[in-house]
Symmetry: C2
């Protein structure tokens, strides 16, 4: 399999975590978002929305959207699982993943921040208010959702799709100065996750296209 992605993309980072948790080997092809490579005709033929990541399966299918790719990996490489066994636990892990992917990240990602600053003339304070209002309040909801069912991780005692979404979102929120104070449960889970080898392997700074310093 081949993963097209970008080191600092939150959605790519989710899929790298899922691949690493399952111990799946893959080739990695960087798509430089700062250079606009996601808008090339070659890339758009694989991902019509011009977003990363795209996973190319061994049969050549081009799969889009991190939530969908993680479900594909779970179905085709079921062991170890990245979902709880019981239906309600699975729903809770997926609900946390979806809260991050549908409520937090879409309102924090770079293209939206760029639009707000460059086309809507938001100043730094207005951007900060936006980030705390939308991604910030979504993460506060996740803190409560995790507390209901948490063991060592977001749902239970093994990492799931919820943790694969939490860690990249937390990493990005720290980078953009979103106020995460008070989210003590999520902070504990984040620290526990990033200490694991699979999360370390998936970390943005450990990718070949990382720009350090």
């Amino acid at each position: 399999m081949k993963l097209f992605g970008y080191w600092r993309s939150s959605a790519t980072y989710r899929v790298r975590i899922a691949l690493a948790l399952k111990g799946i080997d893959y080739d990695y092809e960087p798509v430089n978002l700062l250079k606009g490579e996601q808008k090339s005709a070659a890339y758009l033929s694989k991902n019509p929305n011009g977003l990363v990541p795209t996973l190319i399966t061994d049969d050549g299918a081009a799969l889009n959207q991190s939530l969908s790719i993680m479900e594909y990996l779970e179905e085709t490489f079921p062991d170890p699982s990245i979902l709880p066994r019981d239906p309600v636990g699975r729903a809770q892990a997926r609900a946390i993943a979806a809260t991050i992917a549908c409520e937090a990240q879409p309102l924090m990602n770079l293209r939206i921040q760029k639009y707000l600053k460059e086309e809507a003339s938001f100043d730094d304070n207005a951007v900060k208010d936006w980030l705390n209002r939308w991604p910030g309040s979504a993460m506060a909801a996740v803190e409560k959702m995790a507390a209901e069912k948490a063991g060592a991780f977001c749902v239970g005692d093994a990492p799931t799709m919820a943790d694969a979404c939490l860690v990249p979102q937390w990493f990005g929120a720290l980078r953009f100065g979103v106020d995460l104070s008070g989210l003590t449960r999520l902070n504990e889970i984040y620290e526990r996750c990033i200490a694991l080898p699979a999360f370390e392997k998936a970390h943005p700074l450990n990718q070949p296209d990382a720009v350090k310093g």
Copy 2:
């Protein structure tokens, strides 16, 4: 089961479609978003993000997030299925659902439009530009994703989660004046879907809390 929702909520509409396609009976409890009922302590205890829908299972578990709820329904009431059988087809249906739920709807929903108008002083043209830029371009991507695999519906010859997301998004986009011209494939699928009894049953105007006229 009991569904807490709002007649015109896109995410509630998705879940109503999934329930209707599977022929599942349920109680419906309206949450009036215009009156702020989603922010009551009683509702927040079921849905910490203050969003609709919430599905209460027969065992009393409160499930959040439409994508997760649809997966729960698929796992616990597998027949008829709302996903294709093959892993790549399943991934493609989920990718369309996720493109709508993660790229289109979060940037079109009412709380964001309200913020842009009331707190960021967007005028009507600026809101229109925003809606065409983000939800509009996501739908243009879905048009291409659907064309790759479409039979009668978004992926194959039976309605899936992709169609359960498409129809509410299309309905909302028409309401808000998003430019959908040129998306002929999706328009055909939308028309085919809304002619089916399950989609008719799930339609906003056919809910007990609908405000008509």
